[in-house]
Symmetry: C2
C-alpha cells in the first residue's frame, strides 16, 4: 500500500513538474517572438519586394528562391525544394465592366475569376438575370437563362459568428455557379464578391468548369456595384438593364514550380514529422499579405523560434511553403504523395491559412470527442494566458488535407485566428502588408511554435 | 421523499428551461445586431460629421446635442442631460519639434501633452537628457537635469500579452514625468509616445502637474523620432544634441458641458439601474473613433437592440455618454454624485473604453473569487459561441469608477475587446473611423446587450 501511494505521489509530482516545464517553455516561446520576432519584417519583404505571386508567374519563382534562401539563412538542418507542375492562369489586361441602363453607362469594378476563360475581344453585352442560388437556375431553366448574363447575388449571411461559415455557404456561387449557368445557355456570369463588407473592390477566387462542360467567362463584381446593379434591376424592367464586360484572361500550359521545405531534424525520431505550413502562391490583385503571406512567414518563424531557443526537437519539424493552393492545390497534393512515397510517418500537420489575425486557437480535423476532451484537459490551461485556447474539432486546411489519406494517423490541425476581418481583404486589392498587425502576426507564430513543442514532447497519447 | 424528488426535478427542469431561454435570447440579440446593427453608421456620423470633440470645444457641444437627438430618435423612455463643468484645454497652433545635431536640423513629429502649458513664443532650445524612469531622475539629480529637456524614452514592454499592461507600466512617464522633471529644474519634457508600434505619429494624452508645482511644457514625440533622437544621443556626445520645440497650448476657464443619458425604464424596479457607457469627449488629433466613439455607440446600441426586440427590462437600463474622460473625468464623477444624491441603487455599471475591437469578454472589478466562479459556471457557456467568454476579475473603467464609493454594492464591469491593435491608434491621428471594423464593433455591442440582459434577469445572486 505504501509503495502504491509513493508511486501515485511520484506520478502526480512528475505530472505537475511536466506541466510547470511546459508552462515555462510557452512563456519563453512567446517572449522570444514578441521581443525578437522576424516574421513581420519577412512578410514586409515578401509583400513589397516580391508582391503578388500567382502560380506559374515569375514572381512565384522569385518567392520560391527567396523562401529557400530565408530558410537557409536561419541554419535549418535541411532545406530543399519539391518539384511540382502547376497551372498557369494569367489575367491579361485590366477587366472592363459596365452597367448599361438605357443611355446611361455606369462603369463598375470587376475582376475575372481565377481559371475563367476570357470574353471575345469585343467583350460580351447581354441582359442580366439576377439569381440567389444554383437551385434557382434549375427553377428558371433554359428558357429564361439562355443568352443572358447570370448575376449571382446572394450576400454573406451576417448571422454566422465565424465569417468562414458565411464564406462557406456563399461560396458555391463562385466555385460552381459559372459551370451551372453554362448548362442552361448563359453567355457569362458575374458573381457578387465573396465578402461581408460593402466595398468597391472585386474579390477574385477560383471557379471550376466541368472537364467536358462549356466554359463561359466569369467575373467577380464589387459588393457596392452588385447592390447598384440589383437596385437597377428592381427599378427598371429586367430586360432594360444590360451588362457589358471584357476580360482577356487565359490558361497557359502548366509550369514547373516548387514547394519549399525546411527541417529541424528530430533527435529521437528523424523519420517522424510534424509539419507546419502555409501557401506561398497568392492571387494577383494585391500582395497576398493575409492570404497567405502571414501563414508562410509564421511557419518558418515557428522553426526559427525553436532553434533560437536552442530547442532540439525529438521528431523532425518541417516548415513547408506550399505552391498553388489558390487554383489547383498541386503543391499540397504533391507533398502528400512524396510523404507516402518516402514512407514518412506524419504525427501532425498544422496549416495557417486563415489570415494573420489575433489568435483564438486551433481546430483538430477529425479528432474524436475523447481526444478533444484530452487536448483541452491537458493543453487548454497552457494556452489561456495567450488567448489561443479555443481547441475544437474541425479545422485542417487545403494544403495539408491530402496527407489524411496518404499518411494515415496524421492529425490535421488548422490555426484559428479571429475571423472578423479576413473577408474584408480576402482575394482583393486590399490584401496588403499595411492591413497586417505586427503583434497579431507574432502571437500567431508563437501559438503555432507552442503547439509544435507540445506535440513534439507529448504527442497525442494522453493515457500516459 | 416523493415530494422532495418532485421538487428537485422541477427545480432542475426550470433551471434547464431558463438556460435554454437565455441561450435563445442571446442568439436573438446577436442576430438583431449583425443584421440590423446601426452603431457603425452612427459612429461614421460622429467621426465624419462631428469629428474631434475635446472637452469644452464647440464640437463636444455638437456631439452632446447630436447624442441626445440620437437617443430620442430611438424612442427611449427618458433622455436627459446632466450638467457638468469641464476643463477647457486648447492645443493652439501645430507644434514644432526639431532635433539640432550641430548644423543639421531634423524636424520631428511631436504633439503637446494634454493639459500641458505652452512654451514661450520663441520656443525652447536646450540640451537633452534621456532617461528611462522617474527613479532615474532622482539618481541623476538637479546637477545633471537643471536647464535641460528631459526625454523619457522607456518603450512598451512587448512581452505583456495584453497591451494594456504595457501601457500601464509605461504610463508614468507621461502622467507624472513632467511634474517630476520640473522638480529638478528641467525646462521641458518630451515623452516617447505610449504605443508599441513604430510609427511617425505623436500619441498625445494627459499629463498632470502638482497643484503647487512648477509647470513645464511637455510633448509626446513619435516612436520613430524617439529612436532617432536616442541613436543620435548615443552616437554624439550628449551636450552636442539639442532639441527645439514650440507649442502654444493653454488651459482656458472651465466650460459648462453635459453627460447624455438615455433610459429604458424598469418594469419592476424603476429605481434600480444597470448603466452602460463610454466617453463622448475625445482627444483633438483625430476622430476619437476607437477612443471612445465605439464605446458610446455600443452603449446606445445595446439599448436599441433590447428595445427593437421588444424586451422590457425589469430594472432601468441606462446608456450614458460621459463627458471629459480624457482630461479630468468630470463627467464620471458628476454621474456618481448625482446617483448618490438621487438615492439610486446601481446593480451594475458597464464601461466600453478599450476600443471597438473583436470581443474577448468582460472584467469584473473587485469581484470575489466565489463570484467569478459563479459567473463562469452560469454565463460562460452562453458567451462561448460568440467568443466573448473571458469572464475575469479586474476591469471597470475611469468613468464608472466613482460609482464604487457613491453607490455601494454596484458591480463595475469593463468590456474587454482584443487589445492588440488599440495602441496603434490610441490618442494619435490614426484614431479614425477607417480603422474600425463593422463586425467587430457590432459583436461588441451584442456582447454588451447580452450581459445587460443576463444581469437584468438574474442579477448576481447565484444562490437561487
Amino acid at each position: 500500500m505504501k509503495i502504491k501511494i509513493t508511486l501515485l505521489l511520484s506520478f502526480i509530482f512528475l505530472a505537475t513538474l511536466a506541466k510547470a516545464q511546459d508552462s515555462l517553455m510557452l512563456r519563453k516561446i512567446y517572449d522570444e517572438e514578441l521581443v525578437n520576432g522576424q516574421c513581420y519584417g519577412n512578410l514586409h519583404y515578401l509583400c513589397k519586394n516580391i508582391g503578388q505571386r500567382i502560380s506559374g508567374s515569375a514572381n512565384a519563382q522569385k518567392a520560391v528562391e527567396w523562401g529557400k534562401k530565408l530558410m537557409e539563412s536561419y541554419g535549418f538542418d535541411h532545406v530543399f525544394l519539391q518539384e511540382v507542375m502547376v497551372p498557369h492562369w494569367v489575367r491579361g489586361a485590366k477587366e472592363e465592366g459596365i452597367i448599361i441602363d438605357g443611355k446611361n453607362r455606369i462603369p463598375v469594378a470587376i475582376a475575372a475569376l481565377g481559371m475563367s476563360v476570357g470574353t471575345p475581344k469585343e467583350g460580351i453585352t447581354a441582359s442580366v438575370i439576377e439569381v440567389h442560388s444554383l437551385k434557382e437556375l434549375d427553377t428558371l431553366g433554359e428558357s429564361v437563362i439562355k443568352g443572358k448574363i447570370v448575376f449571382f447575388n446572394r450576400p454573406f449571411d451576417e448571422r454566422f459568428i465565424e465569417t468562414l461559415r458565411a464564406y462557406g455557404t456563399a461560396g458555391d456561387q463562385r466555385n460552381a455557379g459559372p459551370a451551372a449557368a453554362a448548362k442552361y445557355g448563359a453567355v457569362a456570369v458575374i458573381v457578387r464578391s465573396l465578402t461581408g463588407s460593402l466595398d468597391d473592390y472585386p474579390h477574385t477566387g477560383a471557379t471550376s468548369y466541368k472537364p467536358d462542360g462549356i466554359k463561359i467567362p466569369a467575373a467577380a463584381i464589387s459588393t457596392i456595384a452588385a447592390d447598384q446593379l440589383s437596385n437597377l434591376l428592381r427599378q427598371r424592367k429586367q430586360p432594360l438593364i444590360k451588362f457589358y464586360f471584357k476580360q482577356s484572361c487565359q490558361t497557359l500550359p502548366d509550369v514547373l514550380s516548387y514547394n519549399v521545405v525546411g527541417e529541424l531534424k528530430g533527435s529521437e525520431n528523424p523519420n517522424k514529422f510534424i509539419t507546419v505550413g502555409g501557401h506561398l502562391d497568392s492571387w494577383d490583385l494585391a500582395e497576398g499579405a493575409h492570404d497567405d503571406g502571414t501563414g508562410v512567414m509564421q511557419s518558418v518563424e515557428a522553426l526559427r523560434i525553436l532553434k533560437a531557443m536552442g530547442y532540439r526537437p525529438k521528431n523532425t519539424v518541417r516548415a513547408v511553403f506550399f505552391m498553388n493552393e489558390e487554383n489547383g492545390d498541386k503543391g499540397g497534393i504533391k507533398y502528400a504523395e512524396l510523404a507516402a512515397q518516402n514512407k514518412e510517418t506524419h504525427i501532425a500537420a498544422i496549416e495557417s491559412d486563415l489570415g494573420g489575425f489575433t489568435p483564438r486557437g486551433f481546430g483538430f480535423d477529425g479528432a474524436s470527442p475523447e481526444m478533444i476532451k484530452n487536448i483541452n484537459l491537458t493543453w487548454k490551461k497552457l494556452f489561456e494566458p495567450y488567448g489561443s485556447d479555443k481547441l475544437v474539432r474541425g479545422g485542417g486546411g487545403s494544403d495539408i488535407g491530402p496527407l489524411k489519406d496518404k499518411t494515415p494517423g496524421v492529425v490535421l490541425i488548422g490555426y484559428l485566428p479571429d475571423s472578423q476581418r479576413y473577408f474584408d481583404v480576402h482575394h482583393s486589392p486590399n490584401d496588403v502588408f499595411e492591413n497586417v498587425n505586427k503583434r497579431e502576426l507574432e502571437l500567431g507564430a508563437a501559438s503555432i511554435a507552442s503547439l509544435i513543442y507540445l506535440i513534439d514532447q507529448h504527442g497525442f497519447n494522453f493515457n500516459n
